[in-house]
């Protein structure tokens, strides 16, 4: 669990920086003397701390990079990834002009983007084509792609929607 360490450090840091604020509060509370405290500066600081709270919430709940730090064992299973990959690749191969999706699919499968071909456009002489689709085993597909790229075997990816 690598996410525990930064959280622990953050908690200790938070406790200390809040604790360093306590003497001021205690003094004001006891003596009722606040003449030495600048109202404007305290207002700015309070506003800033409010914004930090918003920042903390936004970073903790919205940034995908941080969510990925705590993997869900259920989602780690290769099978759980299959429907997403299949959807993406099928859509990409059917619409080859969509370059962003193409790049995404390539990254997901660790294959070169040049080796992708649009649906139905198989040319002879460019190596075997590997199917990817709802009825393809995603693990076998991944292993074929990996083996092909490791051994430098020219192969194309074909969608079987």
């Amino acid at each position: 669990m690598e996410s525990v360490v930064p959280m622990l450090i953050g908690l200790i840091a938070g406790c200390l920086s809040t604790y360093s604020f306590v003497p001021q509060v205690v003094k004001c509370w006891r003596t009722g003397e606040t003449a030495a405290i600048s109202l404007r500066m305290f207002a700015v600081r309070t506003f800033g701390l409010l914004l930090w709270t918003g920042y903390g919430l936004a970073v903790g709940s919205l940034r995908p990079g941080l969510q990925r730090a705590q993997p869900d064992p259920e989602l780690n299973h290769p099978r759980a990834e299959a429907p997403r990959i299949t959807c993406l690749t099928s859509r990409q191969f059917l619409a080859p002009e969509d370059h962003r999706n193409q790049q995404k699919a390539c990254r997901l499968h660790r294959i070169r983007s040049q080796s992708m071909i649009p649906f139905g456009q198989l040319e002879i002489g460019n190596g075997p084509s590997v199917s990817c689709g709802a009825n393809t085993n995603p693990i076998v597909f991944d292993r074929i792609c990996k083996a092909a790229s490791e051994e430098s075997i020219p192969c194309r990816v074909r969608a079987a929607p």
């Binding site: 840091a13 500066m41 940034r63």
Partner: protein, 92 residues
């Protein structure tokens, strides 16, 4: 695409909290008046800011690292002035 607004929020928050600290630094610097400043509080603050920087680096948060670095600098200046002031008094 990663959202840009949490970082913007963090930067504004940092400007508000760090620069509300500045008058204290200026006062201590100009007047040399550090009588009312608690040494223990500033020592704890320094440790806290240091830990915040480590935390910020671990979660890869630019605003947290940047503004706690700034806070560390400000608190360091105030504490240095406080300790120096005490030294003068002891010599006297």
């Amino acid at each position: 695409m990663e959202a840009w607004w949490p970082t913007a929020l963090g930067v504004i928050a940092g400007i508000c909290t760090s620069f509300s600290f500045l008058p204290q630094v200026i006062k201590a610097w100009n007047d040399g008046d550090t009588e009312a400043i608690s040494r223990r509080m500033y020592l704890v603050s320094l440790v806290a800011f240091g830990l915040w920087i480590v935390h910020g680096l671990m979660i890869a948060s630019m605003p947290v690292v940047l503004f706690n670095g700034l806070n560390l600098l400000f608190a360091g200046i105030v504490l240095a002035l406080k300790l120096r002031g005490r030294g003068h008094e002891m010599r006297r």
